[in-house]
């Protein structure tokens, strides 16, 4: 590891005037997110109500494989981190976060299956992480939008608030996966349905640019993934609390 980072340092230093760009590897990993990425005008009435009445807050995460960390325990992935953070912030109520992984399924395939996924769980909030599989398969963005829109409708009819979560920022695959159309279309659905969109892509890119995380890192290690997921979980908890307008009083 040591020699590798020296090599990286050496190459970077060689390039004239690049000194400023040599990333400060020792920068503290605060993984702060600018406020505008965590504010939304779309409310989460069901969540607000559950918290106000002191009931259990049931959150269901529906996602593809990027909602988990392969070869790490589920406790390290963002849904579990979200649960931990929310429990800290909302000690007066019970918070349950469950996960339904739907790997390799497009939004359309998942949308058709949502009734079954939600059935019995009656979540107050569904966080639907989607877009990755569709982008990888270059599904027609119009069809993708339609599918997400239908899916959100189904979830709302089932009595849940919905948050959409878009793709990861994955710089290494940028030349292979065309991400923008899917992000744009998810934003459109969020606007039309007036639901919050958790912009995972922009947030992770921000971290990469701030130097919190080096997302180009080819590491085989699991640490980076764990830290990113921890930060995602915390950002998501802030996002939910903001969207549901939970006052500090309720948070205590």
């Amino acid at each position: 590891m040591k020699s590798v980072s020296w090599l990286r340092f050496g190459i970077a230093a060689l390039a004239v005037s690049l000194a400023a760009s040599v990333r400060a590897e020792e920068a503290p990993q605060t993984c702060e997110v600018p406020a505008y990425l965590l504010t939304t005008e779309s409310p989460l009435p069901k969540v607000a109500e559950a918290v106000k009445n002191g009931r259990t807050l049931d959150i269901l995460v529906i996602g593809s494989r990027s909602s988990t960390i392969v070869s790490a325990s589920d406790g390290n992935a963002y849904p579990a981190r979200l649960q931990a953070t929310l429990k800290d912030k909302l000690p007066s109520i019970t918070v349950n976060v469950s996960v339904e992984l739907q790997p390799k399924k497009t939004a359309e395939e998942i949308a058709g299956n949502l009734v079954k996924l939600v059935e019995g769980k009656r979540p107050n909030l569904v966080i639907w992480q989607t877009g990755t599989v569709d982008a990888m398969r270059s599904i027609d963005p119009d069809e993708f939008r339609q599918a997400v829109n239908d899916g959100v409708g189904t979830l709302q009819n089932a009595g849940a608030d919905v948050i959409l979560m878009n793709l990861q920022y994955s710089p290494r695959t940028e030349t292979l996966i065309s991400v923008p159309p899917y992000i744009d279309n998810m934003r459109v659905v969020a606007q039309q349905r007036d639901i919050p969109l958790f912009d995972r892509f922009a947030i992770m890119r921000q971290w990469n640019e701030q130097g919190d995380f080096d997302l180009f890192n080819p590491t085989h290690g699991i640490e980076l993934a764990k830290q990113v997921h921890d930060c995602l979980g915390r950002a998501l908890s802030k996002f939910i609390i903001d969207a549901a307008h939970l006052s500090p009083a309720q948070q205590n």
């Binding site: 690049l18 494989r65 790490a72 398969r137 599904i139 290494r172 996966i177 744009d184 459109v188 080819p218």
Partner: protein, 414 residues
Amino acid sequence: MPAPAAETAAAASPAAPVSTAAPKITSKISFPAVGERELRLDLFRGLALWLIFIDHLPPNLLTWFTIRNYGFSDATEIFIFISGYTAAFVYGRAMEDAGFIVATARILRRVWQIYVAHVFLFTIFLAEISYVATSFENPLYTEEMGIMDFLKQPDVTIVQALILRFRPVNMDVLPLYIVLMLFLPLILWLMRWRPDFTLALSVVLYAVTWEFDLYLSAYPNGFWAFNPFAWQLLFVFGAWCALGGAKRMSRILNSPVTLGICVAYLVAAFFVTLTWYIPQLGHLMPRRIEQWMYPIDKTDLDVLRFAHFLALAALTVHYLPKDWPLLKSRWLRPLIVCGQHSLEIFCLGVFLAFAGHFVLAEVSGGAMMHAMISLCGILAMWGVASLISWYKREADKGAARKGVRANADLAGGG
């Protein structure tokens, strides 16, 4: 520019007898006066090439200078329009002078060049991707890395790439261009007969594409990111302008009403794009309009994008005269010289974007590095373009001595 465009345009391959071709029955189209090279075309094509390069890199400081942040259309529109314009200009004249067959042959030769360039870029891309696939195993991206699965079937992948069905991101423009150029003989032939009718046909095809959702499929799934059925409109429109349409339109173009509409539209578009970057402004946008307007489709060349390009073009033509002194200054030289060798520089830009991704990944990724890579890339484009210019100049000198002229310069990428 030592080899004047007019000669280039009149060009004709050495074998083609000049002027003895078919009698000029085709008064339907008029060519601009044989004279100086239209530097504005070179300027804006060069600009488009730079912007495309910057847009192909991950977002960075310079990205804020690209026009897609200030309106609906982006550099692709400029590139395709100017390509249509110059292609029609050069090969239309060839068709006048040497006849349909010879002009078609020259166009096909050009198509072949573009195709070879595309395959060459694909090879470089494949090398880069194979490297990434074998060296990158970050558990954070297990899902996304699944995209590399195509490498497990090189036989299928490579054949699909050769028939233009498998195209990596950012390698969509050349295939579009190949298809458009393939149809250029037909377009020119129709234009010689009835230019306005040809343009109308193109509009009809565009409308039909939207109505019936025509598209070309891609491999392993999906569709062409630039739908040729829709984007042909810009190309044909460019051709129509080159063959006299622009002249006939000039009165409309110069009327204050048109200019007012253009300005109003551009300002409105600017405001809309502003709401993408400053979400706090979002609530100022009426919901109705949002629902009607989004998504603004790039694949099928959304009408809003097309209109945005038209407005930009109209204002540019009006406020930037042909004899604008700055066109001859050395400050705009880098752009103009890039625009004059657009196929080469376009390919170089795609390659540099790959290389830029690679450096960002392997060396360091800070914002400074990003900006440096963009700048170095542009300098490289300028350098290579100057080199090609120099070479052509020398080659032309040699050729002139032997009395041979064969230079498809203005056709550049076109």
